[in-house]
Each structure stands twice: as C-alpha cells, then as structure tokens.
C-alpha cells in the first residue's frame, strides 16, 4: 500500500521552510514528505474500519505543513510519522475486501474515536471541534485524521476510521462534490457567524468561496441583509465569488475604501471610524488580520477561518474599539449535513479544478500552492486508479 508520509525530520523541515519561502509548494521536493510503500495500518480497535480513499483534497493547512510554515503549536497535537489528508471521500472496505459504502470522513479525532468515556464536556455537547482530549485516549496524539500516526490519512490508498467518523455520500454526488463536503462543513460552521449585517470575507480561495457559498445558502441571508463584500485576488476567484452571490467583489487594495464608502465611515489614519460589523478572515496572515481590524466596526468581530499561525498584528485598535478576534475551527457532525445541501445548491463539485495520482505529489502540491494564480480552486489526489 503506498501512501505519502510526513516524518519528524527537523533538518528537512528547515530546508522545506526555505524552499517554500522561495516558491510556495517547493517544500514537497525537499521536505519531510515522501511517498512510501507500507504494510496496512492496524485497526486501533475492532470497531474501526478500513477505507480506500477515492479522492483526497489538498488544504491550506496541508500546504503550511509541507512548506514548513505550520505553527509549532501543533507539535504536541500530532504524532509522527503521519499521512496527511483530511478531506477524504473513500470506500469502506467490507469484510471480504470489496468496496462498500461510499463515505466522507469527519476527521476530528474526538473522545468517541479515542475510546474516552465519559466524553469531555465539549464532545458531550456535540461540539467535537472543541474536544479537550485530542492528544489522549487509545490513539496517538492528533487533532484530526491526517495528523495522527494511528489513523493514516487521505493521501494514501488505505487508511482507517472510526464508524462515528463516517458520513454517507448521497448517490447523486460525484466524488468531486463529495471531496468538498469536509471543507464545506468548515465553511458552514463559519457561516453561523453571519448575522445579516454587512459582512466582509477576506480571501476567495477554497475556504473563502465555500464560506461565501454557505452564507448565501443560509436562510439568515435575507433581501434586506447587509452587503457581503469579498476580496478576491485573481480573475477566476472574482468570477466565482460573483457567481456565488457576493454583493461586491473587490481586490484587497480596494476593500477598505469600499467598506468606508458603503458604511459612510470617516477615516482616522488608516482606521475606519465605522466599518463592517462582521469580518471573516479566510487567509489568516498578518496582513489580512491587520486589514480586518482596520475595517471592522467598533464592537464588531473578526472571525478567523483561515489558520493564522504565527502572526504579528497591532492590537491597539482592538482594545480601543472593543473589537474582538474569534477563532473558527472545524465543524460538528450537524455541519456535514448542511454542507451536503450547500454543495448541492451551488453545484460546488465544479470547484475541484484538477486531480493528480499520488506519484505526482510534488506537481500536485505545486499547483495547489499556486491555485489562485492558475485559475484553479481545489486540487485533490486521485486514488481511483491502480493501487
């Protein structure tokens, strides 16, 4: 069974960081990620099942890992060596080894998957994304499938999963549509922060577009809702954002002027005196957070949907204007059901721009790292061919 494996190799990690700084995605050539042939993983407990991934997406957090820019915060929350890939559509392997149900994986490794009983308060409340035990139980540390040595990940021909992690794929869904269910569930979770007031979405990569799709699909968006302003860097992103019913699509440079104009704000230095009550940052860089704080209204909130990592941000305005920054991580099981509806409504399977076999992982990762510039959105590995 072949799979891509990410090992703890500090030297290669440093080289990947250098290479990734020169050319995003280049860390795949020189870093700790390698294609290996291994024996199948052992099932953690008898109730776990084997999966044969069909498609597995490449996510921004995966790219951060490959290019060595992932935060050190994650170190105690992962276990090496692991196989990345948490956006997975797969076939369950039946007892006779034949493909069974087609499922997507809810990758969060929460109390139930770890055999922890009683569950932590968050899991007990259904908020598995806030599980307090992601480094405990009978599994090795790992906040999600794709970061845990015991479960494997989607970038492989075989992985294992707990039955509680499986969501059946509707028959009318293509694999391409199905592989977007997990990131769309993230977006659905983020869209819950939408209040109907003017909202800015920073970034129109996969996460930004899916968040937009989730918001525009929600019943909370009414005719009299405030405008949704989306910043998009590339023409294809702009086109898609308009298609997904953004009210205004602009460049990052234009956005502060646009929010100022739409809110009738004055300006003090670089700071709007008024602004948008809700800003959803789907980028997570120092620049995007700084810009979000410049345009968020007093008392408003910047929701971090993009993974921020180690950033440097001037927070005086946050103090002075009583704004807040709020994290927005993953999803609950219920979000997956909503995600399926959002995908169906917007026909989001078309956002999968290209798929690559595992053997071409360096090329796939390079394309994923430059997806926006190349007019692409989601790049995925395709394991439907030869094993």
């Amino acid at each position: 069974m072949s799979r891509l494996v990410y090992s703890r190799k500090p030297g290669k990690f440093a080289i990947a960081r250098l290479a990734g700084a020169v050319k995003p995605g280049a860390g795949a050539h020189v870093g700790p990620l390698a294609l290996q042939s291994d024996e199948p993983l052992a099932l953690p407990t008898p109730e776990w099942v084997r999966l044969r991934p069909r498609l597995a997406g490449i996510c921004g957090s995966d790219l951060a890992l490959v290019d060595g820019t992932a935060s050190a915060y994650f170190d105690p929350l992962v276990s090496y060596p692991f196989t990345p890939g948490h956006e997975v559509v797969a076939d369950v392997v039946d007892a006779d080894g034949s493909p069974g149900r087609r499922v997507v994986v809810v990758p969060v490794l929460s109390c139930v998957t770890r055999g922890i009983s009683p569950e932590c308060p968050a899991c007990a409340a259904g908020q598995i994304n806030l599980c307090e035990r992601v480094a405990y139980g009978h599994l090795a540390a790992g906040l999600q499938t794709g970061f845990c040595a015991d479960t494997g990940g989607g970038w492989s021909h075989e992985m294992v999963a707990h039955p509680s992690q499986l969501v059946d794929v509707p028959d009318d869904f293509s694999d391409e549509a199905a592989v977007l269910i997990e990131p769309t569930a993230c977006a659905v979770h983020a869209a819950k922060r939408f209040t109907g007031a003017q909202t800015v979405i920073i970034g129109a990569g996969t996460l930004g577009l899916l968040t937009l799709a989730a918001i525009t699909a929600t019943p909370r968006r009414k005719k009299n809702s405030g405008p949704i302003i989306v910043t998009a860097r590339y023409p294809e992103q702009r086109r898609l954002a308009k298609e997904l019913a953004a009210d205004v699509v602009c460049t990052t440079d234009e956005m502060p002027r646009l929010v100022r104009s739409r809110t009738g704000s004055l300006v003090v230095g670089d700071q709007l005196t008024s602004g948008a009550p809700t800003v959803i940052d789907c980028v997570g860089s120092s620049d995007s957070i700084s810009q979000a704080l410049r345009v968020v209204a007093p008392g408003g909130c910047v929701h971090m949907v993009g993974m921020p990592g180690n950033v440097s941000v001037e927070l005086t305005s946050l103090w002075h204007r009583e704004t807040s920054i709020s994290g927005c991580y993953a999803y609950t099981h219920a979000d997956f059901a909503t995600a399926i509806e959002v995908i169906r409504r917007h026909d989001l399977g078309r956002l999968v721009s290209a798929t690559y076999p595992l053997a071409d992982y360096t090329e796939a990762i390079a394309i994923a790292a430059a997806a926006g510039r190349r007019g692409a959105v989601k790049i995925a590995f395709d394991m439907r061919g030869k094993h």
Binding site: E254, L258, S261, S265
Partner: protein, 529 residues
C-alpha cells in the same frame, strides 16, 4: 501677424503628427488622401500695456457705470476670482487675476472702501493650496488679505454661509455664497480660456452650492448640451445657467463682470515645439523632440509630472472687458473665437486627439482615468461650433497611457468612483440614479472637500457627465497606449498602436474612413460647416 488656423489635407509628404500621450508624446502617421489635420490659429498679438488696458476696461465698462462710480465708503465689496483650473498650464507671473484684482483694489482704496473680501470661486473644485493662491494673486494681495480672514475659498457645503437668491421659472434654485449675495457689489474676475466659461456661469457655478449646481450638472442636461463651445441655444447647460443668471440679475447683488482672454502661446521653451506645425519644425525642434521623448520615457512618472506641472505658460492677455455680465461675455466670445476658431468643412468618420498630462481638474495632480474620459469626450470632443467634427456613430481615438493612478489628496472620491461606480455602470443616467446621492452626501468626502484639498464627492460624476454627449454621439471610443484593463473599465476599447486602432475602428466605420485630427495644443474650436 499671427497666421489663422487652417485645415491640412494629409498627403504622402505630410510628416508624422504630434500626439500628446499624457506625460509624453508620440509622432503618428495618418492615412494619406482621407485624413485632415485642424491646426489652431497662431497666438494672437498680446496687449502691450496690460495694466493700462485693465484700467481702461474698469473706467469705461460695457453697459455699466465705471467701477469708481460703484464704490463708496462703508460698502461691502466682494471680489471673486476663477480658481486653479484656469489657465493651463498656469501662466507666468504676474497672473492676470493678480493684475486685475490689484487694479480693482487700487480703485476701492481710492474710494475709501475697506470691507473687501476675496473669494476663490471653486464651485465643487478642490481648495487651492497656498502656493497656488500666491501664484494667482501675488504675494502682496495674499499677505494683506489672507491673514485677516478676508481672502478665502468658496465652500459649497457651508450651509451657514450660503443664501438662496431666488428660483427660475423652471424651478431651479440659485443658492450662492452668502457674503457674495449680501455684498453691495460683487466683482467677478475671469480668465476665459474657452468659450463655455464666463458670463453668468461664473457666479452661478463658481459660487454656487451643490443643490444649485445639480440643476444643470446632470446627465440629462449635459446629453442635451450639443454645443458647449458654440451657440448657447444648443446648450442645455448654458440655457439653465442663463436662467439662473436672470434670477441673479433681478434678485442678487450688483455684479461687475471682468473677463480676460488669452492667446494660445501655451508652452515655454524647450517645449515650444508643441505649438508649432510639424513640417515647420527646425532641426533643433526635432532634436529637442527626440531628446525630450527619450528622456521622458526614462523619467519616473512622478518626476515627469513635476516637470510638466511646473511649467508656466507664456500665454498673454489679448483682451479685457468689464461691465454688465451678458454684454461683457458677448465681447469676450468674439475674442475667444478670434483666437481659436477654425473653419472646417463637414464631419468625418473618425476623430483623433492626443490627451495631455493635464485638464482643468488635475492641476498639480494626476490625470486619472476618469479625467482622461472627461478631457477627451467632455472637452476636446466639444471643441466645435455648429456640429461635432466626427459624425454621429463615428469613432473617437485618443492617445494616452491611461494608468490606474490617482492623487488621493485631490481625488479621493474619484478612486471610489472608478472602483465602485464604473465597475457597475458607465451609463451617466444609471450612475446618477444609483450612485450620485451616496457620493454627494458622503460625510468623509465632504470633510476632505471642506478642510483639505479634495474635489467634492460628487465631482467625478460631473466629470463623467461632461462627456455624456460625446459618449452618446460616438459609436466607439478607442484609447491607444492605455492600460487595457483600465481602458475597458471606462467602457472603451484599448489599442496598442494607431494602426491597430484604425483596424478596430473599421468594424464601425469601414476600411476607408475619413479622419480628422485635432492638433492640440493649442486650443481650437472647429467651426464645422
């Protein structure tokens, strides 16, 4: 003696023709046998004794008592003057405004008048910088009046200092600067660069409020302004302004109008080759052209702008007349036409024009894309009498780099207009309906207009409306050398070369169109028969 303007039929021996391209130039060949070039008259001889002529005009005005007879101790005297939008480029010192105002002030002082206010008649234009006021008025006037609060700039948003003079029979409200309205005498000092300026337009726009201006600065009026530089009967804008002028005459302060005209000696050495006809260029002119264009290509754009905007035109006064507004303006028009009018037979399929680095709305600033449209379709297209140089449905070709660049201090609302309004529509009526009010009432723009050096929030709309008739008239507009994305945002078609532009134009006007080229500078008005 200055030679009159004329029309050159292009043949095989015609040398390439000079086109402005913003902060640079190019030489372009036009097709022989079907192209013509309209050259303006050479600069008229200037008045030799300018101060004497000014005094003569003040003492022997048209349809008015002499100025000294209108001055008396204890009176309120207000002198309003044209702002930085005129003349272009700025004139060598002393500026005509300084000369005229000094003469008026001398007579006022002699009459014992001490309540004198000077007001820059900005309308919705940006406030002038101190150095611009000093240039226009001279240091003596600036230092004497500014410190005492008696030299200031009109504020069309200062509700406490605006006064309604009256309403026309068509419901147009005339609201002007309160100090001017309450004065015993309002003296208005004009620089009449083109025929559309002056007359009742001086006070009714320069000292008016947004409410008042919106009666005639709107798409409907400007689409029906078929002759901005010619017959007033064909200009809905001027008809509106003249109606407001009647209200002003009947219910407003007494007005003493002073109008001055200039010759077209616009560019100093070494740029004086611009004023010449190409086949008369000397070897030195050619060398200067080559040297200038090559070095401009290597010069950073900011530096090039500094060089161009730093130029002072040698233009000289050709006439000065004072007295009753309408009567004065009729005389002024004759002087303007004497300098600028060129008789042209018939229209053509294509009109070509070079767009320079400056228009009335970007002195010492950036010729942003909205102003490129305004200069081409609002000003140069309208430089005709009787009918446009290009036939209805014909093609207008401009040359300009048309970069996405704005002066954020002077044109903050232009940036938003470009990014938001033009992204939505280029249709004047639609943008007026959907967007104008938001921009006009934007508190931030209002603040920048009133306290900084920004054009009013609504001004980019007015700049766009200025080209409304041109937009409506032309079948296609092409910009040669502009940034394609920016040109498309304006709703126009980009072309990389003049030949490409002709090729593109062939879709509209066929393979063998007739072509007119306006040789600007200098300024000219084509009298199209």
């Amino acid at each position: 003696m200055a030679r009159p303007g004329f029309v050159l039929e292009v043949d095989k021996s015609t040398p390439p023709l000079l086109f402005w391209r913003g902060e640079g130039f190019s030489l372009e060949k036009l097709p022989a046998g079907r192209s013509r070039v309209i050259y303006p008259p050479e600069p008229l001889e200037a008045i030799k004794d300018v101060d004497g002529a000014i005094l003569e005009a003040l003492l022997n005005p048209i349809d008015s008592e002499p100025l000294p007879a209108l001055l008396f101790p204890g009176m309120k005297l207000t002198i309003a003057f044209d702002d930085v939008s005129l003349p272009l480029p700025k004139m060598e010192r002393p500026d005509n405004r300084q000369r005229v105002i000094e003469a008026v002030l001398d007579l006022a002082a002699a009459a014992g008048v001490d309540d004198v206010h000077l007001i820059a008649a900005l309308g919705l234009h940006r406030r002038m910088h101190e150095y611009e006021l000093r240039h226009a008025l001279g240091d003596r006037i600036y230092d004497a009046f500014h410190g005492r609060g008696q030299l200031y700039q009109h504020d069309a948003e200062d509700l406490d200092n605006l006064e309604v003079v009256g309403t026309t029979d068509q419901g147009e409200v005339l609201e002007i600067n309160k100090r001017a309205a309450e004065s015993d005498l309002l003296v208005y000092v004009n620089i009449n660069s083109v025929a559309m300026d002056g007359g009742w337009k001086s006070v009714c726009t320069g000292l008016a409020s947004y409410r008042s201006l919106s009666h005639h600065h709107n798409p409907t009026t400007l689409e029906n302004t078929k002759s901005l530089m010619g017959h007033r009967d064909h200009s809905a804008l001027h008809q509106s302004v003249w109606r407001l002028g009647k209200v002003l005459r009947d219910s407003g302060p007494r007005i003493f109008q002073i109008e001055t005209t200039l010759n077209t000696d616009m560019f100093p050495s070494p740029f004086d080759f611009i004023n010449k006809r190409e086949w008369e260029w000397t070897a030195k002119d050619r060398a200067i052209y080559l040297g200038t264009t090559k070095s401009l290509k290597r010069t950073p754009i900011k530096m090039a702008r500094k060089i161009f905007h730093g130029m002072q035109g040698p233009h000289r006064m050709t006439s000065v007349q004072a007295g009753e507004t309408s009567a004065v303006h009729e005389v002024t028009l004759q002087h303007v036409y004497r300098q600028q009018l060129v008789e042209v037979q018939g229209q053509t399929d294509i009109l070509t024009m070079g767009i320079p680095f400056v228009c009335p709305y970007n002195p010492d600033g950036v010729m942003n894309p909205v102003l490129v449209m305004c200069m081409g379709l609002g000003y140069l297209f309208n430089m005709y009498r009787n009918k446009p140089l290009v036939r209805e449905g014909g093609v207008i070709i401009m040359t300009h780099p048309t970069y996405k660049d704005f002066n954020p201090v002077h044109h903050p609302s232009y940036i938003d207009f470009y990014e938001q309004v033009l992204a939505d529509t280029t249709n004047p009526a639609e943008m007026s309906r959907k967007w104008e009010q938001q921009f006009a009432e934007d508190e931030w723009y209002r603040h920048l207009y009133r306290t900084g050096n920004a054009y009013h929030g609504v001004h980019p709309f007015y700049a766009w409306y200025w080209g409304a008739h041109g937009l409506q008239h032309a079948g296609k507009v092409i910009i040669v050398g502009g940034e394609p994305a920016v040109v498309r945002r304006l709703g126009f078609t980009p072309a990389s070369t003049m030949d490409d532009a002709f090729e593109i134009a062939s879709d509209v006007v066929g393979r063998h169109p007739t072509i007119s080229h306006m040789h600007v500078p200098a300024l000219l008005v084509a009298d199209v028969k």
